[in-house]
């Protein structure tokens, strides 16, 4: 108490004295403040304060405290242990569960300043030191690693006797992360951390707190690296494998389902050869000789001399409509039944395409049936049509004839007959008699195939002729006009026309010998752009009956002499012994033009079916384009 009074007096004196000091502007010290008091183990404690302004003068600080229920003032026993501006209370001076009233005083020559008093109960200011001896180890649990962290309580804290009970907390983070992962450990001194990243580097820190107190500082960091463990990667690989296998199965199944269409898409089937007579097996066997021999038609190119007539007879195919046959029978009695081109179901091989137009046929047939026979006019009309058509032919058939040579495989199979036709012609012997007979034979053949034409009775033929002519002509025209018609068909048409013409001619004329008259002679008019040899009936200018085309007399250009090197079919002119047409010999090239044109004008009269023969300049040779040269005599008319 006395001490305290003395101190107070001293302070007052100081305060009085400070104003007397002149000179510098000094002031009493500022008010200090107690910042904190801490006890690390609940046995000792330390208080720190913050001094105020010193006022320019050296200032001293003092700490005074008072215990509860006691008026005695004590001064801090130790100012140095804890550092600057601190006061350390050792064990002897520390009482638990006792309130301390602490004050700090700053003093300089001018005055002193008291801080605000602070009540301290040691129990509630405990802040232990951080845990010590921290260790982190890696341990394994069924192949999965985990961290085991262990530590020791701070040395000063007496947890063994139970004087202080601590709870711990640790925090973990990966090296590259920013966020710590907190774990409360309670009273235990070890802790396990699971769910580690393979190959990661971890940082671990621990701190502690008494049951009623403050958290300690974090301990020093422990570093640990987790080894790479295979499980995670393995699971990923397993998943990937399963997934890919699944996908693969699905794809396989899809492929299997669509195998056929895919096969066709990726590997389209190679088209096989579709040549008649072409044997795939032979090809596979690899024997070229056999293959080509199979392809070869026996008689083409013509290598053997065969009988002209036989061949002609054999292979010349004349299409006979079924109705014509019927009519023919009728016409025997009736003299002129209506010939109808039957409705032909054309097959690809035969040459009977010309009258295949159903509608036309029907129309025409219907008409003629009703009408019966045609009048001469009608026939003449038709004839003129034919003539006109013939006029349409050009002179330069030669050129065409040069170029085109029917190959066996032309005209889509119809030409099967043609080669045979070609073959004998060049080889034709020059025996006129033979020729004639052959011609006759040919004619007969020609006519024989056509039911209407094979009749010995010419009259019937004649009678049938016009109608036939009509029909065929009518049918022919559209065919001729159509550029698409096949060669064979065209020729067939022509041949039919010619045949019918023959018949027709025979009908009115009735002059010629049956053998001769029964045939229609065809000459190659021209070859048009589509390699069509346009034939025209050969009409003899002599002995013509008005209005009717007459049997061609005179020159006979129906015989094929041969095929020259330029693939030209050379026709041989024949001279008919019976009739001579004046001015027969006409060179085709250009000469017949006049004849022709005039003939077109006149409808009926002159059988202006001038003979246009596409004949080569080199004498007496006629080119037949496709070789269909009928064994008809060809006669060139000078003027019609």
């Amino acid at each position: 108490m006395m001490k305290k009074a003395v101190e107070l007096v001293l302070l007052l004196l100081l305060l009085f004295f400070t104003p007397h000091i002149m000179g510098k502007r000094y002031s009493p010290p500022g008010k200090p403040t107690l910042t904190r008091c801490r006890s690390p183990e609940k046995e000792t404690f330390t208080c720190w304060w913050e001094p105020g302004s010193d006022g320019g003068l050296p200032t001293t600080h003092a700490l005074y405290y008072r215990k509860e229920s006691s008026e005695r003032v004590y001064e801090c026993p130790d100012y140095h242990t804890a550092g600057e501006n601190s006061c350390f209370f050792n064990k002897n001076d520390t009482s638990i569960w006792v309130n301390y009233n602490i004050t700090v005083v700053a003093t300089n020559t001018l005055g002193s300043a008291f801080s605000d008093p602070v009540d301290v109960d040691v129990v509630y200011i405990v802040k232990p030191n951080p845990p010590e001896k921290q260790t982190v180890t890696i341990m394994e649990d069924k192949g999965w690693p985990f961290l085991r962290v262990s530590w020791e309580p701070p040395q000063k804290a007496d947890t063994r006797s139970g004087w202080i009970t601590l709870i711990y907390e640790l925090r973990v983070k990966l090296e590259e992360e920013n966020e710590w992962e907190m774990h409360l450990a309670g009273h235990q001194k070890t802790f396990n951390i699971f769910s580690l990243r393979s190959g990661g580097k971890y940082l671990v820190e621990v701190r502690c707190k008494p049951d009623h107190g403050f958290w300690s500082e974090w301990s020093s960091t422990s570093y640990i690296k987790v080894p790479d463990y295979f499980h995670r990667e393995k699971s990923v690989w397993i998943l990937l494998t399963i997934f890919s296998a699944f996908i693969f199965l699905i794809l396989t199944w899809l492929l299997h389902m669509n195998s056929r269409s895919l096969k066709n898409c990726i590997l389209p089937p190679v088209p096989g050869p579709k040549i008649k007579g072409f044997d795939n097996q032979l090809l596979k066997n690899g024997k070229s000789d056999e293959i080509f021999s199979a392809l070869m038609v026996s008689n083409f190119p013509p290598t053997t001399s065969s009988n002209y007539e036989d061949l002609l007879v054999e292979y010349l195919e004349v299409y006979v409509p079924v109705e014509q046959e019927l009519m023919q029978e009728e016409s025997k009695d009736l003299h002129g039944g209506c010939l109808k081109c039957e409705r032909s179901t054309s097959d690809s091989d035969s040459g009977r395409g010309s009258c295949d137009s159903h509608t036309l046929l029907m129309d025409k047939c219907g008409e003629t049936k009703e009408e019966g026979r045609h009048t001469d006019r009608a026939s003449s009309r038709m004839l003129t049509e034919a003539q006109r058509h013939q006029k349409g032919w050009e002179k330069d058939t030669l050129t065409y004839a040069h170029g085109d040579m029917v190959s066996p495989d032309m005209s889509n199979g119809r030409v099967k007959t043609w080669p045979s036709v070609f073959s004998p012609l060049p080889q034709y012997s020059s025996n006129p008699l033979d020729k004639q007979s052959s011609l006759e034979m040919a004619k007969q053949h020609c006519l024989s195939t056509s039911s209407c034409l094979t009749q010995p009775g010419h009259s019937t033929k004649e009678a049938l002729g016009p109608s036939n002519w009509d029909f065929c002509l009518g049918n022919k025209q559209p065919h001729l006009l159509h550029p698409q018609t096949q060669v064979g068909r065209q020729l067939q048409a022509h041949s039919e026309v010619n045949i019918s013409n023959i018949g027709r001619k025979q009908a009115p004329a009735g002059l010629q010998s049956p053998a001769l008259r029964s045939t229609e002679y065809v000459e190659v008019q021209r070859v048009n752009e589509e390699d069509l040899v346009l034939l025209q009936p050969v009409v003899s200018g002599c002995g013509r009956i008005e209005g009717y085309p007459q049997m061609p007399k005179g020159k006979d250009y129906s015989k094929v002499k041969g095929v020259d090197s330029d693939n030209m079919l050379l026709l041989q002119r024949e001279v008919m012994e019976e009739d001579w047409c004046p001015g027969v010999d006409q060179e085709i090239n250009g000469g017949t033009g006049n004849c022709y044109t005039s003939s077109t004008v006149n409808t009926t009269q002159k059988p202006t079916a001038c003979i246009h023969t596409a004949m080569p300049v080199q004498g007496d040779m006629a080119l037949a384009m496709n070789g269909y040269v009928d064994t008809a005599t060809m006669c060139t008319l000078p003027t019609c």
Binding site: K42, E43, R66, E68, S69, K91, T94, S95, I96, W97, V98, N99, N101, P117, D119, D121, V123, D158, T159, R160, S161, G162, W163, I164, T165, L166, H187, Q188, K189, D211, H212
Partner: protein, 204 residues
Amino acid sequence: MERAVLLLSLLSLGVSSQPITDGQRLFSIAVSRVQHLHLLAQRLFSDFESSLQTEEQRQLNKIFLQDFCNSDYIISPIDKHETQRSSVLKLLSISYRLVESWEFPSRSLSGGSAPRNQISPKLSELKTGILLLIKASEDGAELFPDSSALQLPPYGNYYQSLSADESLRRTYELLACFKKDMHKVETYLTVAKCRLSPEANCTL
């Protein structure tokens, strides 16, 4: 009370066989109970302090220095050294007395919040437990005369005379003292328990 009966029965059964084990278990129970009480006291005090204004707080601080806690007359070790020096029995007896001293005054703690209503019965139970511990640890015959010798002052009178002006101050004191005493009991019991336990590190 049921718990006390249970404790008693267990004690009577276990006294003969393994008193230490039972003692440890009882200690654990007692320690946990007192810890809970201490937490309650802390919460009460902090709530009260937060409700105060700064001016009142300053006044109370000053006043508090001059007043006493009702349990000041009970002489208890105030530092670790003294505590270590005291025997288990002494610690237990002091604890018992402390708890007992608060058994009645805790009722006068300003009611309203639920925790305050629960304090008094908990104190009673704790007291019973401590008594059991006393009886279990040593021959309680020695203790009883001590306890009887300890003449407890009529505590009831001390707190009943409350004036309106001093109510706030009283509440503050009550709460502060209660908190302190609970911490004392907790500390004493923990030390006693650790001393009885065979392991070195009892505070695991």
